[in-house]
């Protein structure tokens, strides 16, 4: 069954005609061409496919296009602030929070979700927030460090207005 849907994707409103059973993940990657979102497991376990749906981080591998009319979606491609990388992206680069990069867009989206709610997270809170995101390269220590550094930078930016 084909369905007409209108969504807001990374701030732009678009209309699409899509098969209702198409996964959001495939809609983004194969039909729209935004390949930053990755598929790791396809079963909700790894977090590589994390995007924001109506302001909340979700697994795009478990959502049907037919559910999406009216939805607001933000992907990794929408994380930058203008031409600049987001402070979370900069911190991952600076701290070595990226190795092969496969988990990275999911990690960044989930870190953003955490820091939107809490600009001063403890290590425990960071690990709790990222527990649905698997990384096979870094051993997580550098990712936790990057989130802490990004938090410090975001606090500094906020203090300076």
């Amino acid at each position: 069954m084909m369905m007409k849907i209108r969504i807001t994707l990374n701030g732009k409103s678009i209309s699409l005609e899509v098969p209702a059973h198409r996964l959001l993940l495939d809609l983004l990657r194969d039909e729209i061409g935004l390949t930053g979102t990755k598929e790791g497991c396809g079963t909700g376990d790894c977090g590589a496919c994390t995007v924001f749906l109506n302001g909340k981080p979700v697994n795009s591998c478990l959502i049907l296009s037919g559910e999406l009319d009216g939805a607001e979606i933000v992907t990794i491609e929408g994380l930058k602030i203008g031409p600049e990388l987001h402070p979370i992206q900069k911190a991952f680069i600076q701290d070595g929070g990226v190795q092969c990069g496969y988990c990275t867009s999911g990690m960044l989206m989930m870190s953003k979700a955490l820091l939107d709610e809490n600009l001063n997270p403890t290590e425990e809170e960071i690990r709790f927030a990222l527990s649905g995101n698997l990384c096979r390269c870094t051993g997580y220590a550098k990712i936790v460090q990057a989130v802490q550094d990004a938090a410090a930078e975001l606090r500094r930016m906020r203090a300076e207005g």
């Binding site: 069954m1 059973h21 981080p57 697994n59 591998c61 478990l62 037919g66 559910e67 527990s131």
Partner: protein, 305 residues
């Protein structure tokens, strides 16, 4: 990973309409809430629904509300994340908030609903034991009207409930509770929230006076019988007695006897039975050590194992 087959998707605007669609289209369809069980069943278990009825556009099917009589209504499409962070639930039933926080990741909990967890009727459903000890009721509706069942009557077996195909779970209702009620939920699972419970134990307890006489106790177990279950023989060990560690241990032994675990990839039946004993005792002691009111997550974690 397998992709879903083409399907028809309906987005009704009322419970009556949703129910009427199923009546008219007949067998082979599924309701859809958060999809975290349904899409997995499609991808991993070869389920191919002919049509899907998405309940997310039905108004008034989500949210948490305290009623004038002190009962608490959790509408079916309320997400696990909403239960986990609800100030009302954290204050009155921190162990229920905790059991919702044990379901998958934040990404999963932003989609997974309380109604879906009940309707899917997995023996290990993490919120079920906590709702059983609160003696929750299930509100079920169809085009033909509404009925209310106790959650115990609602579960019939693995994946099976008292609902007819065209019936919709609309809400879970927790009846008024004693102001001194304290509780606990332990999900025993080596990978914590990223794996299913090997054993789940929930407690609701009311102790009176310095001597800690047990006015009432409810014990429920997950993942150790065809449905989440109350452990009534274990409750009887403690009910009306002065609460002691020895009694908690005895209740654990009783619970281990009355559960009906199976062996599977996660664990053997014997191991599950032994863990029911240990975890029931531990959950009772944890509950008895608490005061009513919210408990911070980190403190709960440190206390757990």
């Amino acid at each position: 990973m397998k992709r879903p087959e083409p399907l028809e998707i309906f987005q009704p605007a009322s419970v009556e309409e949703a129910s009427a669609i199923v009546k008219e289209k007949g067998p082979g369809g599924r309701f859809l809430a958060g999809g975290t069980d349904l899409i997995i069943a499609i991808k991993e278990k070869g389920l191919a629904p002919k049509y899907v009825v998405d309940l997310k556009r039905v108004p008034n099917l989500s949210g948490i509300r305290e009623e004038a009589d002190g009962s608490l209504t959790i509408r079916a499409l309320t997400t696990m994340r909403e239960v986990e962070i609800s100030p009302l639930i954290r204050k009155r039933f921190p162990f229920l908030a905790q059991s919702a926080a044990e379901v998958g990741s934040i990404q999963i909990r932003n989609r997974a609903t309380v109604g879906g967890n009940m309707a899917n009727a997995t023996p290990s459903a993490d919120v079920a034991p906590s709702l059983l000890v609160l003696e929750a009721r299930a509100k079920i509706a169809s085009a033909g009207g509404e009925r209310v069942l106790s959650l115990e009557e609602f579960f019939h077996g693995p994946g099976q409930t008292a609902m007819l195909p065209e019936e919709i779970l609309t809400a879970i209702v927790i009846p008024p509770t004693h102001p001194k009620l304290v509780g606990e939920y332990i999900k025993f699972s080596p990978r914590e929230m990223m794996d299913l419970a090997y054993v789940g134990v929930a407690i609701a307890l009311v102790l009176n006076g310095k001597e800690k006489r047990c006015e009432s106790v409810r014990i429920a177990l997950g993942a150790v019988s065809p449905t989440p279950m109350r452990a009534r023989k274990a409750e009887a060990v403690i009910e009306k007695q002065i609460f002691t560690e020895e009694l908690a241990e005895k209740a654990g032994e009783e619970a281990a006897k009355e559960c009906k675990p199976i062996s599977d990839v996660r664990s053997s039946a014997e191991y599950r039975r032994a863990m029911v004993g240990t975890m029931t005792k531990r959950a009772l002691l944890n509950a008895a050590a608490q005061r009513p009111g919210p408990v911070p997550w980190v403190e709960r974690r440190e206390r757990r194992y």
